[in-house]
Structures are given as C-alpha cells and as structure tokens.
C-alpha cells in the first residue's frame, strides 16, 4: 500500500521542517545513485502526520499467529466471560503505555472481557512530582520531600473520589496512580500493579514510600526479571511487545520500500546497515559510525542512522551534530532526523536493511530490536538491559560490547549471508513466540484467570 493514502494533506512548513542531512559532498563515484546533497529537506509526504489506521481485529492476526493460537485466546477468554476489567494509567496519548493500551483494550473487549480504560487527572504540580518519581525510580538522585508526598497522595485521593471500581479486575499502570489501591478493601476486585519501569536500583527513600501501596496489590507485573523487587505478592513477567499489524511493523509492498529508499537516497543495490533510534548518547550513534568506518575497510556498505528527537530535545540536537561530525564527508552515511509519525518510513527502511544495529549503552527493553527481529533482520545489539532477552547470542542475533565488536560483526554478517539469514529467521520466530501483542493478550487472560481462582495445573497435568 502507499503511505500517501494515510496522510493528511498539508503544506510544507519549511521553518520547522525536519531535515535529512549528510555532512558529505556529492559522491565522487562516476556511477551509482544520484549524489546526495549535504543537507536536504525530507519529502513532503512525511511532513504531516498520517491519519491513524483502523484498529485491527483479532481475526486479522490469524495469518500471523495461526488458528490454533487464536483458538487458545478464545478458550482462555471464555473462562472469563462476564468478568470486567479496568485499566488505569496517567496519559491517553503519547508514550509506550498509552500506545500499548490502545491496542490491548479493544482486543480484550473483542474477546468478551469488557475492559475499560481510565486516565487519572492531575495538575502540573502532580505531573512534575511523578516525573521526578519516574526518574528517581530509575536511579536518579532525588530528595523525597513531605510536600511531594502530599501532592502525590492528594491527587490520588481526588481521583479516587471521582472514579468507581465496580470491575472484577483493576490494573494500575506505573507509579502515578499506584495509591488508588487504598480503596481496594471497599471493592471486590483483584488489583494488579503493572510496572513498566526499571526498578532494579530505585531511590531508596522513594521506594520505601511507595512500597506499602504496592504490597496492597494482589499481584505485580514487571517487564524484566531484573526489574522486580522482593515483595510479598506474586510477581509476573510480561515482556513488552510489538503489534505486527501496526504501521511500524506491518508488511509493506516492495514498491513502497523502494520509494522510501529513493526519497532518502538509499541505494538498495548495496548492503545497508541501519540503526533506528533517537539521537541520544545512550544509543551510541557515534559508536555506530565508528564501527561502520572500521568495517568499511573490509566490506562495502552504507550506514543509515534514522531517528528523531533532535528537533524537540536540545540534547538530541547536540548529539545529531556530533553524529554529523563523526560521519565527516562519507557519502555512504545517511542521517535521517524524522518526525515521530514516520512509522511507515521507519518500517520501510528496516525492511530494506541488510543488517540492523542497536548499539545501546543502556536500554530498557529495546523495542527497536524487537521490530528488527520481527522483520527477520540479522541484528547486532549491545548486551544491555532487556536486549539479551531478545538477542540470544549467535542464535537470534549477535550481542556486542564495544565498537570493535560491532565492527567485526558487521563484517562477519555481511560476508556470511547464510549465518545471517539463519539468525534472522530465528529472531523472527523468537518475536512471534514471545514478544507480539497477541502473546501479551494471552498473558493477561492467563493472569486474570489465575486471580479469578482458576488454579494453575500441576506440572504433571
């Protein structure tokens, strides 16, 4: 399909247009694709947000996960018939949690597990406090004041007065609404805390403040084993997931992939090595450029660094400048600062790539890795955060710990296409088995069932 069909017509606003840049003069080669200018505007098709596509239905996933898996979901849901669920978080748009709930809630409801999604309200002071909480739970320096505690509790209490909890299961996402659990005794619901953030080294005082609330829940869910805390309640592991039917991940016509490559000056006749990520030092884009330069001494390839964050984040702009300086005048380094709605274009670039890199120095889970694996791409990734859950070294991808290691793997994978193909195929299967939204729907259904009283089968069942 064409990306054009989903786009809202609009003018090109040159004053704030994201740009595609390379720091290079036109290539000196006599043959090959047209020379890229040192800086040029993105094609007009990506300058305005597209109309959101319709939400997929369960049956739309049948061709991906198979009838047997759809049947399993329906069976698990049938046991829950009549039970209702409420999901509560702190934002309706933007951010991974809202994006995930936008897909999860309709699928659960379609499975006749009516699921209501409510968003808590709060003033700027509340969100300033919870933003600081978020950073402190990730380990940032923070002094928990009495005032911050009062603001947190006051807004949770205000929301409690406004909200009703008539459902059988209540799922609270992240710390912002965590204190809503104070009303648990007045309800008959099972309460679950879904923590999407890394609690492996939280600010101690803040964690001691939050811990009594968390211990009131019937269960907690974390995105990684290492994020969990010692708690007296059962803790479950739900990996983050991708939607294979989203704009970022759905299958694309080759003609569209070709158009995107043409628009961005990417030559599909030569190997393409890509990293998709914000221009953020923790993603080490400069390290990727260095690895590419080391590898380029041995193998021909282009490097595409596609991301965003340079226009709305001052640090992102600095990092983008550092990347351009590191790229120097190499015409084969293509740096794309894309607006956030360019999911289809990112998808096309990933699909056109020969290899995908995610050389993060620190990472939560790394959904860009999941996206690359899903597209069957041989993937080179930093062995940090949740990446080793996805990239099993030499089986579903390769893990690296340095620029030199990354360079070697680029050389190796480009010169051993059979091995590259094998890990790419296994990587896709790994995502299919463990990291798709349908697997997450199944996890939710299993957990709801267990909390509703369905006893897990003994091992020898």
């Amino acid at each position: 399909m064409s990306s054009e069909s989903n786009r809202i017509p609009g003018d090109d606003h040159s004053s704030n247009s994201p740009t595609m840049t390379t720091a290079a003069p036109p290539p000196s080669k006599p043959a090959g694709p047209p020379a890229r200018p040192s800086s040029r505007r993105l094609p007009s098709s990506v300058l305005t947000p597209p109309v959101p596509p319709p939400t997929p239905h369960l049956d739309d996933y049948r061709s991906i996960i198979g009838t047997a898996q759809i049947d399993a979901l329906r069976f698990l849901a049938a046991d829950l018939k009549g039970k209702t669920v409420k999901m509560v978080n702190s934002t309706a748009v933007g951010g991974g949690v809202a994006e995930m709930l936008n897909r999860l809630v309709p699928l659960l409801s379609e499975l006749e597990v009516p699921t209501h999604w409510e968003v808590i309200t709060g003033g700027n002071d509340f969100f300033e406090v919870t933003k600081a909480f978020h950073n402190a739970l990730h380990g940032a320096q923070y002094e928990l004041t009495k005032h911050a505690q009062e603001i947190f509790l006051m807004y949770n209490e205000q929301n409690l007065q406004r909200m009703q909890f008539a459902e059988e299961v209540v799922v609270i996402h992240d710390p912002q609404p965590a204190a809503l659990v104070r009303t648990k005794e007045k309800t008959s619901a099972k309460w679950i805390w879904r923590c999407h953030i890394d609690l492996s080294s939280p600010n101690a005082a803040l964690w001691e403040f939050l811990r009594p609330f968390i211990e009131e829940y019937d269960a907690a869910i974390f995105s990684s084993q290492s994020f969990a805390r010692q708690l007296p309640i059962p803790q479950y592991l739900f990996y983050p997931c991708i939607d294979p039917l989203s704009e970022k991940n759905k299958e694309l016509d080759d003609s569209f992939i070709q158009k995107v490559c043409d628009d961005f000056g990417i030559d599909r006749s030569r190997p393409i090595v890509t990293q998709v990520s914000r221009f953020d030092r923790l993603k080490d884009p400069v390290g990727v450029v260095e690895a590419y330069k080391l590898a380029k001494k041995y193998v021909d390839c282009q490097l595409v660094l596609a991301g965003g964050g340079a226009t709305d984040d001052p640090e992102g702009a600095v990092v983008l400048q550092e990347v351009k300086e590191a790229a120097g005048n190499d015409p084969d380094i293509i740096v794309l600062d894309l607006p956030p709605w360019c999911a289809l274009e990112i998808n096309a670039i990933q699909r056109a790539s020969t290899l995908v890199i995610q050389k993060s120095l620190r990472e939560g889970f790394g959904l860009t890795v999941t996206e690359a694996l899903w597209k069957g791409k041989p993937t080179i990734a930093g062995a940090v955060g949740g990446i080793p859950n996805q990239v099993i070294h030499k089986l579903t991808g390769v893990l690296v710990h340095s620029v030199e290691g990354c360079a070697f793997q680029i050389r190796y994978l480009l010169t051993h296409p059979e091995f590259a193909r094998r890990i790419g195929t296994s990587g896709r299967e790994h995502v299919k088995e463990n990291f798709l939204i349908t697997t997450n729907v199944k996890r939710w259904l299993l957990l709801f069932g267990i909390l509703a009283g369905s006893k897990p089968a003994p091992i020898a069942a």
Partner: protein, 226 residues
Amino acid sequence: MATAEQQLPLRKPDKPFYFNTSEHLLRIGRERAGTLAELLRALRECPDNSIFQHTFRTLQEHHFIRQGFSNDFAHWSLSACHEPILAEQLASVDVREFTEIAGLRARMVEIVEDFLQQHPRAAARPAHEPFFFCAADLVVMPTPFVPDTLPGFLDALRQVSVHSIHHHFIEARLRLKRMSNDFSQWLEEEMGLRHSALAIERIDIYTNTLEGVRQQIGRIVGQVLN
C-alpha cells in the same frame, strides 16, 4: 520398522486421541544467583516449577532453535559465567530421561557440585549478569481436535500449535511417569503400532525444532498410511 505395520489392517481405536495444549505464565521467583555457588544453592532450594520452567518450558519458548540451546542453566553458565565445560555438561542433560522433576533437579545439582569440586575457584567468581529464577504457572486446554482414526490423527497433528506438540511429546513424561510420550502411547495401545511408537520416541528434540519434530512424527505416521 514401520514396514511390517504397513501390511496390517489398521485397528479402530477404543479411545480417540485428545489433542490438548498448554500455556504458561512466567512468575518471577525469589531465588537469584550471581555466582555458581549461588546457582547451586538455588538449584537445591527453588520450587519444582522453577526447575520445570528453566528446562522443559524453556525448550518450548525457544522451540525454533535447532542447535545450541538446551536449558537456561547451561546457557547462563556459558554466556554469563564463561564456563564452557559446565555449560556443555548441563546442556547434555536430556529432560526426556526424567519422569519426575526431583530426578532432573538431582542431576543438575550433581553436575554443578562436581564441577565446583574440580574448579573451586569458579564458585565465587561473579557472573556477568545474575540468573533470575522464574516459575511457570501452567494452564492446560483442550483443542477442537479429537481424532479417532489414523488419517484424522495425522490431519490434527498438522493443525495444532507447536505448544500442543510440546505438551504431548515432551512434557508428557512428567504426567505419564514413564519413558514415553502421549503420541507413542496412543499409537501403541490404541492402534497397535508398536514400531511407529518406538520410532517417534527416538526423535531427538535437541537437534530438531518443534516444527521438525511435528514433521518427523507426520512422516512416521504417514508411512503407515501409505
């Protein structure tokens, strides 16, 4: 092998084959290990569900890998502790040789104990990353497939999920308490296909993906039908 069975008329089974499947939820356990000594302690103390998760169940989660993946303890010994000898020894443990978790646990403990006796300095060396023990909460479910003929069995085998193959072919030992699997048991007891049952039992799950296992079972049953 199946040649003799190909010449016999097929028996009508008294009982159909009930294809079930199982799904699991991962619970994060209390035990974690940052060294091999801690791994040994946790192996002795963790619940049966944890041993099950990191051996039987992990095979299902990684069913698409043909080589190099056996169980989580072996994988961690190599990737986080850089102990290839221990990793090879742990990887050589075939879960299908055990009909009870207790026996499997004892074998894992024995291997780590022996290794640490021979390599005492390895016991306290910090791993690159900790091993977090998890446990599987299991839910067994029926499927629509209840064949009572051999062609029906073959047709169903091709349509069920690989989770169902894992349930009947690998996990079945813990249920049957014998060195067999649900497919072989049904083919032998209900259809009188002893040679086919033995041939299926001999399929190597460590050099095949679960799809490969499905295809091999299909070939063996198909030979009888042909």
